[in-house]
């Protein structure tokens, strides 16, 4: 039996604050096998970036963490500092959003990649330079780019450098936190294609975090959706995206329209209200104040992830009660307080291809 690459069990993270601890992650379970690609979706403040940082124990001092993060069977949360340093980069590496801020602006990118290599391997300058060249080519940049400074590179190229750096110590798990958020569509497609290819060729497991569900659906095998610090739905990517079992997932999936779909033409879909304040969470199902299909039971519900079809689970009372149809038929919340949905889409002179 193989050891699971990453197993997160009942993880909670809370940040210190004057008025008491603020819970950011509230009991999350996740499993990644070697070569898996898992997408973690959710809006700002849902706890997804905290999750990513917790896996490598990169949280600020004073943060309270409970539960366990097992990386190849070893608990990251219980590691001694020396062991932790060894595990970061070599077993799991992370690529952050905003590559322009993560690179040192006054050092050549090759030197910065070499530094990551030297952290873990005793190599000569020449060996390091060769390895830097290999890594750059692996991420689709010419080896001579090692001599460039970050400002000489475009956003997409800097993100490739960040990925090269993450690969420097041949990790088995790559965590990418909004790796394409600030990038153009075409460059985003290039970076996502690169991540997929690396996953395939190096057998890397990938934990991809973004607010854009459509990106995850196109890139990952499985998706987990977070709301208010908990996973509210998980399952195979295509199934979750195409037929969400949780009304929040449905709203997220509809936020970005399918181009060519008449229903969304001149009819943007939104979700009323704002994400909840983690210091003052709604009772029961945290989503109930914004939910288009909430019922009387929701404010007092004891949430758990109920089975919602093959390989799928969702934390919604309608899933528990076997009324999935209710979620599917949920019409998106009317957008804006005084803005009823646009009366029908304009007539089209073509039919969208199915």
């Amino acid at each position: 039996m193989t050891v699971v690459l990453l197993e997160v069990r009942d993880l909670t993270v809370s940040y210190p604050a004057r008025e008491g601890a603020v819970p950011a992650v509230r009991g999350v379970d996740l499993t990644l096998e070697p070569g898996d690609t898992l997408g973690l979706a959710g809006e700002s403040g849902c706890g997804k970036s905290t999750m990513a940082a917790a896996v490598l124990r990169l949280l600020p001092p004073g943060t309270r963490t409970t539960g366990s993060v097992l990386l190849e069977g070893e608990d990251v949360l219980a590691m001694r500092p020396g062991r932790l340093r060894a595990v970061r980069w070599t077993e799991a590496a992370i690529v952050f959003q905003g590559a322009m801020h993560a690179l040192n602006p006054v050092r050549r990118v090759g030197d910065q990649i070499a530094e990551a290599i030297r952290l873990h391997d005793k190599v000569t300058d020449k060996q390091a330079a060769t390895r830097v060249g290999e890594l750059l080519e692996q991420v689709g940049l010419p080896a001579r780019r090692a001599a460039s400074y970050p400002h000489e590179l475009s956003g997409g190229q800097r993100q490739r450098v960040m990925i090269a750096m993450a690969l420097a110590c041949s990790p088995r798990l790559l965590i990418a936190d909004e790796p394409t958020t600030a990038l153009d569509v075409m460059v985003q497609a290039q970076v996502l294609a690169l991540l997929e290819e690396l996953g395939r060729e190096l057998g890397l497991a990938l934990l991809l975090i973004t607010h854009d569900l459509s990106v995850l659906a196109a890139t990952c095998e499985r998706i987990a959706v977070m709301y208010a610090g908990r996973i509210v739905e998980e399952g195979p990517a295509a199934a979750v995206f195409d037929a969400p079992a949780h009304p929040y997932t449905k709203a997220l999936a509809e936020a970005f329209p399918t181009i060519g779909d008449r229903a969304s033409r001149r009819n943007p879909h939104g979700l009323g209200g704002d994400p909840p304040d983690p210091r003052d969470l709604p009772s029961g199902c945290e989503f109930h104040p914004r939910c288009p299909v909430s019922v009387a039971a929701c404010p007092t519900l004891d949430l758990e992830l109920w089975p919602a079809g093959e390989g799928r689970r969702a934390a919604c009372v309608h899933v528990r009660d076997g009324n999935l149809e209710l979620v599917r038929q949920a019409t998106p919340v009317p957008v804006g307080e005084d803005a009823p949905a646009h009366p029908g889409a304009a007539p089209l002179d073509w039919e969208p291809t199915p």
């Binding site: 607010h211 957008v335 804006g336 005084d338 089209l348």
Partner: protein, 351 residues
């Protein structure tokens, strides 16, 4: 704020454009004597916005869409060409531009950066009224603008500060600041790109509602083709300083003609009707605009031999592609895929 005006009918929209851009060029960095490298950020653009119309100007970063928007607002002086508002040139200089700047309001991308953190919502919205010396009951005007932007009850927000608001609420305050001046047109630069997915739809619906209820015209600058699908009547796609394709949103997105538009659209995760086509590399620097068709070095149709088969590859490499007129029909600046460009050539295409 005036009472609800009837939304213009499509036939009314065919009259005089509210905004017209003619052969606009914005070049940067030419040193005296014109020797140093010149970045041709906007390099010959015609564009029209009809009353009550939402036009989306789409393209990747560096394509010149923001420079074009800035020139339209009079924030940067065009190198040549002109911007006409209701048929008249917008003029140059602060004094000449002042009445125009009341009529055409800018909505910025990042509401957090656009709002002064030490100003209350009331002050932020009232600022424009004071700058333009608007007479009348200031409090009532602010209240109405906030209500129109969906912040209700408006008085509850008067004394709030930006840090107390969510991202979506901040963007509504920015929009209220623009609406307070009763503009006839908004220029919105990436109005939802910094917002969360669930809030995005609400802000877009608000923009649609403003067109419907107040008859506003909107030029929305974006990299997001899904946004265009959601709200825009017409779509113009920019590449390296030029509009390479434009037409009714449905036509452009359902049957894109320009190979650049096709590729751009094919990589949007929500698009399923086109074969995935990732272009290598990035657009060249606007100081080095390629000769011939400016897209030809990256063009998949030229690389695959499709252009050669149609016998236009020489033209792609060597001939200037005519500038598309900012008109209603669907056109692409492409020798291969647009019949009138292929047949006529010349410096302008479109009637």
């Amino acid at each position: 704020m005036t009472a609800t005006q009837p939304a213009p009918t499509p036939s009314a929209a065919a009259q005089e454009p509210i905004l017209e851009v003619r052969d606009l060029h914005v070049h940067f960095g030419a040193r005296r004597g014109g020797r140093g490298p010149v970045a041709r950020a906007v390099d010959g653009v015609d564009l029209q916005v009809q009353p009550g119309e939402i036009v989306a100007l789409a393209g990747e970063s560096g394509c010149g869409k923001t420079s074009l928007a800035r020139a339209i607002l009079g924030l940067v002086e065009p190198t040549s060409g002109e911007v006409l508002y209701r048929g008249k040139p917008i003029g140059r200089g602060t004094a000449a531009l002042k009445p125009y700047r009341r009529e055409v309001q800018l909505v910025l991308q990042d509401p957090t950066g656009a709002l002064n953190p030490r100003q209350s919502v009331y002050e932020s919205v009232a600022e424009g009224l004071r700058i333009h010396g608007v007479k009348g009951d200031e409090e009532a005007l602010v209240e109405e603008a906030l209500a129109r932007s969906g912040l209700r009850p408006p008085r509850r927000f008067f004394l709030a500060y930006p840090h107390e608001l969510s991202g979506g609420q901040r963007q509504r305050v920015v929009i209220a600041g623009a609406l307070a001046l009763e503009p006839s047109m908004l220029v919105a630069d990436e109005p939802v790109s910094s917002l969360d997915a669930s809030v995005r739809g609400e802000i877009l619906a608000l923009l649609l509602g403003l067109v419907r209820d107040l008859g506003l015209s909107i030029l929305v600058v974006t990299h997001d083709l899904g946004l265009a699908w959601n709200i825009a009547d017409r779509l113009a796609v920019m590449y390296l300083g030029r509009i390479v394709e434009q037409g009714p949103t449905e036509a452009v997105l359902a049957a894109p003609r320009h190979p650049y538009t096709r590729a751009l659209l094919s990589v949007v995760p929500e698009v399923h009707h086109l074969e995935h086509q990732i272009l290598a590399g990035e657009p060249p620097d606007p100081t080095r605009v390629p000769g011939g068709c400016r897209f030809h070095p990256r063009c998949p149709a030229l690389a695959s031999g499709e252009a050669a088969q149609a016998g236009v590859d020489d033209r792609c490499r060597n001939e200037q592609v005519p500038i598309l007129r900012g008109v209603a029909e669907h056109h692409a600046a492409c020798f291969l895929t647009d019949e009138s460009v292929k047949k006529e050539g010349g410096s302008r295409v479109g009637t």
